[in-house]
Amino acid sequence: MTTTTDIAIVEAEAPERRRGWLDVVLDFCRRRPLGAIGAAIVVLMILVALTAPMIAPYDPLAIDFAAMLAPPGADHWLGTDAYGRDVLSRIIYGSQTALIVGFGAAFVGSTAGAVLGVGSAYFGGRVDLIVQRFMDIFISFPLIILALAMVAILGNTLPNLIIAMTAPMVPRCALVIRSSALSVREMPYVDAARAAGFSHARIILRHMLPNVMAPYLIMLTSFLGQAILLEASLSFLGLGVQEPTAAWGLMLRGAAVEFAETAPWMALFPGLAISLAVFAFNLFGDSLRDALDPKLRTG
């Protein structure tokens, strides 16, 4: 019979295992080398942007007619443009523009999208329906068209540029976050928060938003690459950053087109910088998504 042994039931305490962030980073590098490469390039870019005044060999705005259209060489490693400005220095300073606009737009866009998505899922019913249909309308425009229209309306200063670029990001992010938030909405802890007398805003921002962090981070990183590309496209089309500020997209237009055959370095190197940056952000973003994927299932 069962009476021979006394079974002591002890409430086992789950072992404490919170890994330090260094462990997490090392683990990520080991498991996803491609992502680590992407992350390394991103970090390098950030360092370059921060130290631009120290590492750039020339003033990016300094016009030197004596060295107009100089090919890459000892004086100007990546050559000069039609005004004799150093291409390398302009690329280095251009990374500042790219990162400010890229990070700014991606962060504002995905955060606003996340709040909208969670709110839409939380309130549900008619609110959800209306918000989602609006999002559908915005999503039906291609990224660049919507951004173009926004810049045309708002005018092209740097803050306006960021706002314009977030417009197409918000609905895309809201859609993804909403689908995750719908399952969070059904969790008893949300009802518990309601029963504890918390306000809607508090429940959405403090209780639900942290639970959709994984899709949020994925959207954020995937927007970073897109935002840099979008900023370059807008600048190239003349609707983004204006001369003489150093911006990668800007360096591809004007004289760069005119002298494309005689001075290809003018367009080649900024083009490479754009590709490399977008490539790095996408590599990193993809690996991050894979790493966070199991956590996409909330619970």
Partner: protein, 358 residues
Amino acid sequence: MNDRVSSGALLDVRDLRTEFTTGGGVVRAVDGVSWDVRAGETVALVGESGCGKSVSALSIMGLVARPAGRVAGGQILFKGRDLLELPEDDMRRIRGREIAMVFQEPMTSLNPVLTVGRQITEACEIHLGHTEAQARARAIEVLRLVGIPDAERRLRQYPHQFSGGMRQRLMIAIALSCSPDLILADEPTTALDVTIQAQILDLMKELSRSFGAATLIITHNLGVVARYADRVNVMYAGRIVERGTAREIYANPRHPYTLGLLRSVPRLDEPKRERLDPIQGQPPDLTRLPRGCAFAPRCAFAIERCRAEAPPLQSVGGSHLSACWVAQDLPQRSALSPQPSGDGEEIPSSRAQRGISR
């Protein structure tokens, strides 16, 4: 209703009606129910799944899922105020502060990404205006009260670092943190091991006594009721079918449904019977309730009148009430060994068949 008790009750639910509109029609989840909870008392709401117990609690909290569900009528008087009339802002101040709720699922009722400490202190900061330090001190205090050792370290941990029983203690700690007057416990022990169940219930009983808080326990477990409740309301198909003290309900059930519930629970203090006597049939479809007593189709004692006319809740002796036409003719609980069930022949014969084939 003819069973109105003193108006001095802490919570007085009067003729509550909560409905849900579904594709299949209107479901009357709570259909004209009245009951009360006095200060400091433990009242149980008992019944099987879908009988309207949880919806009753959600109606009190004003958390019935809209737009499908709505409170269609009645009053919920809490300290004399009708909660159904209160604006949302006032209601929010009552939730968590004056009426706290303990949920069924301790594994999922805590937010996985917030520290345990944060989840306890948040309500104190909002409802009691505590500073961070005060709220923290209060959190440590309630953690000790619910028997969680090493409270200061535990506050920094996340819910996944706690076992099921510990999490339910946390839920109770959160509920107690603002010293509410009433605690609604919706199946507080269902998801727990039997041994832990008893601990949690003892804890709740002890704490509600020391805090002077009244408790409404919602459960399908009659064992819980017998041990912890002062008074019991038995619900069936959105209505109360029997009410009395735990002793009355247990020793002298006066409704066939209660009788059936008690008989379907295994007992260790009686000689082992071959099999339990489940209640025959299925709970009724709440969109198409019969004209008479909702339990009549499953009832072994039903008479003609039961199918024609719904019985009112009336006294069968003192404060013991039953909604049954044949309440006085029901057998004593101990007196019915072979159950006189509607299709009673089927059970012995199937048993006999098995006996033969073996």
